[in-house]
Amino acid sequence: MARTIKVALDTQICIWAVREVLVGGSVDNSEQTISKKEKALALVDCLAREKIEIVIPAVVLAELLVPLDDATSRAFMTAMDSRFEILEFDAYCAVIYGKNYGQGKRDDAKIKTMKDFGITRREMINDHLIVATCVTNKVDCIFSDDQKLRSFCDGLIRARELPDIPMQQRVDGPWEIDRSASAHLKELILGDSQDFL
């Protein structure tokens, strides 16, 4: 049986993949917005095509619920619960959290990174919770556009930014994911490379 690859998506990538590209009632054509949305959708498509499991840590789900009113939140929860593996923060995640947090306090490189980003440990609570949940559940990689979360993952779990998945245009047809993308995506998730080559 081939090994199943499991990846977690961070909050901002989920929102890029879900949100309508509308700002103030008009279409937002800013290059960055289009680009990020396209990147997020290409990532989801490519993961789906390769049968790579997408899991959602409960903390990410919690952050997704923040902008929603109660009724919408309830409906969104039901939709998520029946379609995605939701990774809960449980007692064993607490053990991992404690180990990571304790090691982080003694790790000079991590302390320096935090100083470089100008952030306090308290500000990284959600990052710690997400990483501990993913480590416990043997997630292969976290896709996140939060640079401090990625830097904090060093040595604990692979973390990658939203990748530039190569697209190709069919003759007189739509753009689609380049066929070579699949192998590169697996390399990105499981290998040492940080970039989509």
């Binding site: 498509d45 919408t72 308290r122 500000e123």
Partner: protein
């Protein structure tokens, strides 16, 4: 009949125990851990054949080396887990054997040259609470088998990780229609403190999760909830959420 120089691990319980109760997938981890419990890191081979007689399953081992002392140490572990000195690797393996027997409600008798030298009766053993963490959480995986007199659901959590979950008859009936599908369940279990491996798990409810193509799942969310996120800059939103307070 045990031959001189061989060791026998006889799994018994009240009532009949048959090969159907112990298939190869169950025996694999047991044999691996039993081998480690005796041979530890040594390269000595410790081979097994399974024999069924007298309503019990016997695992016959033979080795070209002398593992009598280690076999006796395993018997001593059965009598007093804390009283026998073992390497961490062997102790973890002994704990696995203990937990395995507990899961199938059985006791193991250890024989050396046809003489019973000890037994491991999980219910009589004090649980090493320091090395197991009780957790309550959801579990997802492929449902490979469900049923039995004392029902169990076998969920393939990962390719190398089959979990025999305790389940009520009512939930077993409900889950049975999902055979060979990925399922989500909620329950309580124990994980090894050091490895995080799930040692046991009791299913308390079945989640509504149905395996869905992620592209379709996101398309559904976009169609139904996309407008609620339309005015949000995802990067700023996350940055604010994680740095405030």
């Amino acid at each position: 009949m045990t031959k001189p120089g061989t060791h026998e691990f006889r799994i018994i319980r009240d009532g009949e125990i048959t090969p159907a109760d112990l298939n190869v997938a169950d025996l694999g981890p047991l044999l691996m851990n039993l081998g480690q419990a005796v041979a530890g890191d040594s390269k000595t081979e410790f081979l097994s054949l399974t024999d069924v007689k007298n309503k019990c399953v016997s695992l016959m081992f033979t080795s070209s080396n002398h593992l009598d002392t280690e076999w006796e140490e395993l018997a001593a572990y059965g009598a007093d887990p804390a009283g026998v000195k073992l390497s961490p690797k062997r102790r973890r393996a002994c704990e696995f054997v203990n937990q395995f027997l507990s899961n199938i409600g059985s006791t193991a008798e250890l024989y050396k040259s046809d003489h019973k030298i000890g037994a491991i009766s999980p219910k009589d053993l004090p649980e090493n609470k320091g090395s197991l963490i009780t957790f309550r959480s959801s579990l997802y995986g492929m449902l490979l088998k469900v049923g039995g007199k004392e029902p169990k659901a076998f969920i393939q959590h990962r390719e190398d990780y089959l979990i025999a979950c305790d389940i009520s008859k009512e939930l077993a009936r409900e889950l049975a229609i999902r055979l060979y599908e990925r399922v989500g369940v909620k329950g309580v279990g124990k994980r090894d403190y050091d490895t995080g491996k799930i040692i046991n798990y009791q299913i308390l409810s079945i989640l509504p999760y149905q395996e869905t193509d992620p592209a379709k799942a996101f398309a559904f969310l976009r169609a139904n909830f996309g407008n609620h996120f339309a005015g949000i800059d995802p990067d700023e939103f996350v940055q604010e959420l994680r740095t405030e307070g």
